[in-house]
Amino acid sequence: MTNPTLEKKADTNRPSRPILNVSGLNVFYGESHILRNVDMSIRTGEMVCLIGRNGVGKTTLLKTIMGLLKPRSGSLQLFEQDIVKKSPDQRARMGIGYVPQGREVIPRVTVRENLLLGLEARPKGITKRNEIPDEIFELFPVLRTMLHRMGGDLSGGQQQQLAIARALMGKPQLLVLDEPTEGIQPSIILEIEAAVKGIIANTGISVLLVEQHLHFVRQADRYYAMQKGGIVASGDTQDLSQEVIQKFLAV
């Protein structure tokens, strides 16, 4: 088996190898068919945005990729390895960093501990003498002053930054962001957007983003548009027409 980390460094500049490959994915909640034959792929170093109105299955797709939901059929490959049977914690350790909708900061542990928990995706996990690397505070300076506050006491925007920082602590290959700007004040949206761009520029990781904000969507390389549980359009974000935007973005 090849080591994805080593190989990635060799071709950071050339987005070619698929990091994630989804094909023919069908997911049900009980008897209701939520995802219908979803195909999607993300290449190394690429930022892909998933758009679509509320309730079309975007979050369901991310949860299935993360392993929180089991598909009824179809395949999921990470680094050309089948991951359908792997548990969420195994997938996280394989290199997926997940920032869920609603942020899901652990409420009654401190901000510092929340960040340390992100290390669990690395081979060694949390160890006695862990420090929070400076890069994290360069991306999100606000966290430095809040290290000893409880995660649940932060404001929504701060929690969002914490959730992204926590995912980065695990040095993921693929960062999955579910509506990182939902319900957050505009000034912080721009900060988060800048941080995500900075992360991509500095680390060359791939990003899968679910987003409603057009400005943020345009930062992505490619988009997939969903409707009624299926992918109905895809292409480069440069070519996003006014028509597609009006059809798939709730703005």
Partner: protein, 330 residues
Amino acid sequence: MVDFIVQLLIGAFNGISIGSVLLISALGLAIVFGLMGVINLAHGELMMLGAYTTFFVQNIFNALGDPWAQVYTIAAIPAAFLVAALVGLILERGVIRFLYGRPLETLLATWGVSLILRQLVRTTISARNVDVTAPAWLRGGLQIPTGNIPIQLPYARMFIIVLTIACVVGVYFFLNASSWGLRIRSVTQNREMSACLGIPTATVDALTFAIGSGLAGIAGCAITLLGSVGPNTGQNYIIDTFMVVVVGGVGNLFGSIVSAMVIGIVTYLIGSGTFAVLLSPMDSMQPVVAFFEFFASSSMAKVMVFALIIGFLQIKPAGIFPQKGRTAEL
């Protein structure tokens, strides 16, 4: 006046002593039920296994002769912890992990496990109670010279108080200062997200349950100092332990500590007839004095404490320290 202070000290000592027994037996449950939300009716049987482990360790050390026979208690504590933790681990891996999120099934299944463990002890060891004799240094008590009433603080009781403090401090540092403690806190607060961060949740569940069970084992070791040990020993404690955790507020270890101490002291004050003695000089209070005298025995005190707890839970259903805000839903 001196008499009054002496009485107060004796009262405090006895109350804290009863509270310590409650707390040490409830501490494991505070983790298993409080943090993990597992209703483990076999918790008392894990204590019973810890007590039997102490009995066997005693027999082995007695066979070795005198210097050893005096220190068996020290060896019995880790042994009881390990035996109960191992049984707890088997219980979690074999039964409980299939029932997470299904409290009624968990309740029935662990009740079944409790019956099996009791019968197992009856058939393999004996249905009769066995006696654990405290080593010489735990017999007797500290004499406190006072004017007219000689008082004695039993060493065994003091030992249980010290052991309880050690367990509470140990649990506190394990949960708050170790990496496994952080993993446990994370998983108990948000299981899905913890898994998404790469925390091996199944391992954390098994470890948490094993530690809670091991603490029940240590409690079992402690209660051998209070009386003989039999297959039904655990049954004497199971109600009390759940009571402590519920009154303290499920999910709050500090709440369990406060609740155990309050229940312990109130039980002692009612059981010893202190209220009756205090009120007896007042003529108008005679009916109340009679009322408290009626409850001044350990079994009747329990009845009254139960009634008080039921009343208390009507006012504060979530216990002394209820979970607040967003966290409450978890």
